[in-house]
Amino acid sequence: MNTRLLLFILLFPPLVYGQEKASRSYTVHGIVTDIATRLPLAGATLSIVGGQGVALTDKAGVFSLGVQAGRIRLRCEYIGYHSIDTMVTVSGNQHIDFFLSPSQQTLSQVNIQSTAEPHKEVSTLDVAVLQGSALEQTRGLSLGDALKSVTGVTTFQTGPSIAKPVIHGLTGSRVLILNNGVALEAQQWGQEHAPEIDPFIANQIQVIKGADGIRYGADAIAGVISVSPKPLPVDTGIMDGEVNAVGMTNSQLGAFSAMLEGALGKNLAGLSYRVQGTFKRSGDVRTPDYLLGNTGLIESDFSAAVQYYHKNYGIEGYYSNFYTKIGIEFGTEVGSYSDLLMRISEAQPPTTYPFSYFIDRPYQTVNHSTAKFRGFYNITDSSKLEIQYAYQVNTRQEYEELSFSTSLAPAIYLQIHTTTLDLNYQHNDGGGFSGSFGATGMNQGNIRMYGYLIPNFVDYDGGAYAIEKYRQGKWLFEAGARYDYRWLRAFAFDANAAKIDVTTTHYAGTSATLGTTYNFTDNLKLTGNYSAAFRPPSINELYIDGVHASLAEFEIGDANLKTEQANDFSLQLNYATHWLNVDMNGYYNHINNFIFEEPTGQFYHSQGGELLEFAYTQGNVNFHGLDLGITVKPLDSLEVISKTSLIYAWNETIHNYQIYTPPMRLQNGINYHFGNFGPFKSVLVGADDIYVAKQTDVPPGYDFAPPPNAYNLIDAHVGFKLTINKTYADIDIAANNLTNVAYKDYLDRFRYFAYEPGRNVIFRLRVPFEILSNHTNNN
């Protein structure tokens, strides 16, 4: 059953273009790749179950198999991997790609699974994958919101439109985000700085939960989120596309995304391309009782990719641009502590506004451009050298509410330029050993204008790593180590004297990982991992000096902060059969020199009143918890999914709880596959109950208001496929917060001001289409 589900998402649209024709011979062809590494698998076997005909893949993973027209059962097998069976209706020359998963791992459920290792070499860390229909059901949401269905992951929000992902209680620069293999280097200085990624690009989003400093260097002490587009087509002479449209009743959001891709044939075989664009616009968000003024947003994104693959080498270029303009809720820019307390004491915002798409001050605009060049060379059949160069520019402008100035300028302008160079050598010698080593370099420069938040700075980073894995029977062992060095120089006007302060700091650290997996049976495995990682203090933690308007906080940095050191232990149990799937991950992450803001007990007297002073300081903190996912399939058509995220955090230095720790979250859902109803194919109906407990473990004196009460939300959705004129469309209708519950979330800074959004009915349409195909060429 699980394989069938997997196939549903992995097989490409051509499957459904079947047209009945007279019985004759055709060719089924395609490419077999490792789902994780995306490397072609040479020597994989393709066979027709109960029929004749066998084919092997060549070095490029390509196969071609002669078949009779009609319905056949095609099996793809490869030693060390799970085989895949699929039913195919052949009515012409057909293209099918197979993505195989290593058999040490059990890839069973479509949605969330501890499995593959696409962008990371450390496979004994817990990984969740969001792809296929589970990902489709998040279209139109921000990246942070899309990941909320993963156990152990939640969001830190600033109102309805700004959400930062939180993994195991940690967020911001402690969570590394990869955009198509490039570490996103943006302005991560504020809680209201959300990641600049268009989730429509993604074909798969991976969440690595736990300290993973080995492959991507310092910072990732909480985890890694990897957003990957699907691989470019390699089959020659094809062109296809996809259109996505999303509409939401709450906020009257409209999102439109289109993609066109293809692979050239003849002399240009091996060359393929994709262009993709997204436009999104929404207006004011509605809570059950009132509208939130100025909460609209505009987003427009574009990406283009081109690659050339030859037998032993490949090169690719990728460019993406993300632009957004986000309104900040009216009334949340409080000038003083007493204003904030007044807002907290009110049952609802003192002013309500009519619905509008217009975005007024305060608002922020962000533009993020990424250019990437990647090349690889297969030195031998089992070893590969990769080089990747990326350049990113992130420009953030924040426009505050103006009282009396006629200025058109932003309050804050920040532009960060980042250049990265990665070299990676990987090998898989077939004898049980596999691994990689490499070196990375980064240069970053930041330029600021207008108001002061962080200084100009220049940063040089260098690192080197090695990871090795050994598989022996039921055991998998892995070990890795990494060294990183950072040179950071900040340029700022001296706060008191008329001169420029130049401060240079150095940070160095080692990261390590050690893990093992034991497969008791094909269904049951136990994994233990220890990872050490570190994070140098970020520029805001070192040098910030100013007012945080909407929190009535005056923040003070500390240039003498040391690096954070994380020691993360995890134990995972995975059990998977055709009817039951259990993923359990317990973790204990101890962080020395954890950087946090502590109230100084002092007040800063601004013109508009008093603000509380918060100073960055360090302490020893531990985060521990449990992620539990259980899927039961009592019938082939019915699945019951239960997800539990428990997390506790204790600050050993202040002898109290750690602020902003996510409370317990339970999500219980049911999905029923109805099958086909006339023109409605693959009808799926589902509902989820989401319970978020009240956080009672909070340190006194750190927050302005007590944590909000527990809440319970009900989400429901119906999805089906509709074939119109031989083109099929995926349609999904969902209702979030179906019962229109008024609630507040502990991890939303704007809980001081207003409730969370009320009921939202979402319409999603996805239409894949084919423009050029191989079999039309051949016929």
């Binding site: 009216f330 009334g331 820019e333 409080v334 000038g335 003083s336 007493s338 204003d339 007044m342 009110e346 003192p350 002013t351 030195i379 031998t380 070893s383 050298l385 509410e401 103006l402 009282s403 009396f404 100035s405 200025s407 300028a409 250049t419 160079l421 070299l423 050598y425 090998h427 010698d429 691994g435 070196a439 370099g441 240069n443 420069g445 330029i447 600021r448 204008m449 207008y450 108001g451 002061y452 200084p455 100009n456 700075f457 040089y460 120089r489 340029f491 700022a492 006007f493 001296d494 706060a495 008191n496 420029i500 000096d545 100013g546 005056f554 800063y604 007297h605 601004s606 013109q607 508009g608």
Partner: protein, 215 residues
Amino acid sequence: MKIMIKSKHVVYVLFGTALFYTGCSSKTEEAVQPNIANETITLAQLKFTNEANVSDTTSCTYTFHLDNNDNVISVDSTTLTLKANSVYDGVVYMLDQTQTPVFVVSNEIIQRENYHLFFYQPTPISTAPVISTTSPYIPGTPVTPGVPPLNLTIERTDHDTNNPPLQFGFHTKFTTGAASTGKLRWVLRHQPNAKNGTYAPGSSDLDVNFITVIH
């Protein structure tokens, strides 16, 4: 495991890395742009004229001293001295001296009278003030029984161009009673698209206290 990297590859890598780092420049970052706030208040003043004698004027001034990050590092305030049993006409004057030429904030606030509302609160008080959309008093002001109150009543004397017009408080009438001492809290509320005559909407642009002596 057989590693097939030749020494010439290593040279390429080292050369490329060197090129990469030399290609990065820190010149732009060294040219630090000055910190400029869009708006700030460095001086806030109330000027008073005795209605009985136009040559009898007085004022009180609050001065904010800023550092290079535009944060307030210290303040100065003068004492407001008013004659007992008198009526004064008050008017607001505010400056942003970080700009060149000096920006007269109060002129701009008159332009945006529909978004602004001034509040004036004498303390201590013996009974809670009557709060309405026409009173310049601040809700929530604590009553201190047993302490002689500051004998001062304040009225706003101007209106904005909202429909219906709402009070503004740029111009005021201060009426003093018997000799007493206390404080005058002065607040400017900024209430874009939200002004309704009450204190609650918006946020404070200015919130200061003057020591006040009525003699």
